[in-house]
Amino acid sequence: MNSWIKTLSRTLYLDLSRKQFWIEERDDLFSKWLGGTGVAIQLYREESSRRADPLGPENVVVFAIGPLTGVFPMASKVVSVFKSPLNGYVTESHAGGRAATAIRYAGYGAIVIKGSSDMPVYIVIDEEKVRFRDAGALWGMRSSETVGKVLREAMPGAGYRTIMRIGRAGEKLVRFSNLTVETYRHFGRMGLGAVFGSKKLKALVIIGRKGFKLPNPRAYREVYREIYELTKGPATRKYHDLGTAANIIPLDKLGALPTRNFSSGRFDGAREISGEKLAEDNLSRRLACTACPVACIHLAAIREEYEDEKYFYKTEFVPYDHEPIYALGSNLGISDRYGLLKLIKVVEDEGLDSISTGVVLSWATEAFERELISIKDTLVELRWGNWRNYVKAVTYIVLQPNEFYATLALGVEEAALKYGGVDFALAFNRVEPAGYHTGPLYHSSLAIGFRHSHLDAGAYSIDQSLVASGTPVPSPEEAAKMIIEEESWRQILNSMVVCLFARGAYSKNIVEKALKALGYEIDESRLVELGKQIYLEKHAVKLSEGFEPEKMRIPKRVLETPTPLGNIPEEYVRKVVRHYIKLVREYIEKVGSSNEVFREIDSTSAT
């Protein structure tokens, strides 16, 4: 085994029930599965059980980084794997900020969190110690930003640490609450905040100031320089200039910007909430995750005068990205930029996933319009564009003052099952969709993706290239192959772990070179094979937990609203799903019964 793996394979186990921790050398996993998602799914399987309650002590949260973390540019992400409280199946969520490098330079490759505490705690981890601390004073704080401020002041290691924390939403077990890192980045989707909340774990502070000796500094510097030039080149320029908000206008022009609960792909106010307009009028600062030259994080400043006193102002900072602009902007008919930013701000402070929050509210608005629910339920009038009332509704989702909001806090699927309006409740496998209405490949990829994210396979991009080149839509079988092939390769990128905005820079050849410079003996073809295997391992675990994709509801609204590639036939998505099921089931057959899949797979060994 190469020496690099030794520096990566220390795995920290935290047991919240017993307030204990221990460290294990897991070079068995890191040499076989590289790191990141490849390792995290194995640790999850070892520690979880098929029937674990997502909000019970038996659910586990695994964080993992990879061999390139903090070593090459844009290898800046942490993978988390856990069972989602939205749908009860294993899932994955990524975040940037300083989290990945802090874990790496605290000396760990993975962290496994088990059990649950009987009192609110936070945990502080550095190069030498692990401390459980009383979070009584932090629990219930109105804004997750304040929690960050307090811990920032109280903890050492400024610059080299991550402060992960949940907001009130996580404490209140809102199923789509997130885990915030460094104030403006998130493990956004799938409800990791609620899992932390159920464990009474308010925050995780990780301080990492170590360094590691390189096995071959000369080879390393050469590859480093090459990757650095690629990552700051034209491929990432638009993310530096306008951030992900650069997508709003092109998607709107294409008719693929989800608007007013996906009833249209065009928004008359798109220009007002575009990346261009936000940059011109509101952008105050751009930030980067550690080791990233791109700096895609865009912060707007909003100045607000207090109602009770003239000339008494405050200035707040709000991160904006494509997804919150879609979910809380076009999807709610909000074109008032100030209102949109205020709404994003409250979603941030409460610690909610902006995508799910926006989709839950757009369903509620339509249900209100159709009189399936009344003001007695909603407490405020929910009307397209009325951001002031949406701001109030967001807080109600968190505080759950009545049965209606307690139901909304479970996600759009539960709400629609109870109050009606299933046909316009946007969710695949009970998870609200990200902001693209590009065509059949994208929506099919949501149906079968592991993260339930547009980033699973980037199929919104495949749809758009079909439109641009005038190529006919591929058969569902072809589409399934394209989606799965892309998602499989991304397993390698997610095991390194590199940001997917750098996927153009990290070609197969570059990944091979980067690994070789660190002493790994692996080539492109082996990487591709391993990517497929990691893909199958993950989905086999999910199916073993009882995931039945054949029973999935395909939201009617998605099929009815035309995409740039026309209307999507339901049967198209179903065929993609069937292809996926067949592939994963064949793998399960090959490696043993589904029970064994979950507990132990003795799969072919990776070098």
């Binding site: 610059g159 360094g211 080791a291």
Partner: protein
């Protein structure tokens, strides 16, 4: 003679590529050997503080060293003689801007030598080398 300067810390996006570049000079990765440090100026929305030796002409760190391990560098700042250094850490306390870093593996200070290696890895024009007379 050249001196390392922070041109405009408001251009800093906090990517730490300078920090990694500095550590790389010694055949390491990470932050433990870096002579430059970047942290938020009280929350990232306020931007960043870039902390590094500013090449004092009469450096307090050198005056604090009990074993003369810090020799004056032409153009400002100091050169560390690691053979002389006993690792007492007085220099760290003597620097009011916090630019004497500490290598806790070797128990010696890390101070910028104004070589400028990190400058070529700053994507946003925050840092530079300038000629001094």
């Amino acid at each position: 003679m050249k001196r390392f300067v922070v041109v405009d810390s408001n251009r800093c996006v906090g990517c730490h590529l300078c920090v990694y570049a500095c550590t790389n000079r010694f055949g390491y990765v990470g932050v433990s050997k870096s002579a430059i440090h970047v942290r938020s100026a009280g929350g990232v929305e306020r931007g960043f503080a870039v902390i590094v030796c500013r090449a004092c002409r009469d450096p307090p760190c050198a005056r604090a060293c009990p074993v003369d391990a810090l020799a004056l560098r032409p153009g400002g700042g100091v050169i560390l003689n690691t053979s002389k250094c006993i690792g007492c850490g007085f220099c760290v306390n003597a620097c009011d801007i916090g630019a004497v870093m500490w290598d806790s593996e070797f128990m010696k200070p890390v101070i910028c030598t104004h070589c400028g290696y990190c400058v070529s890895f700053c994507p946003h024009g925050v840092i530079a080398l300038e000629e001094v007379t």
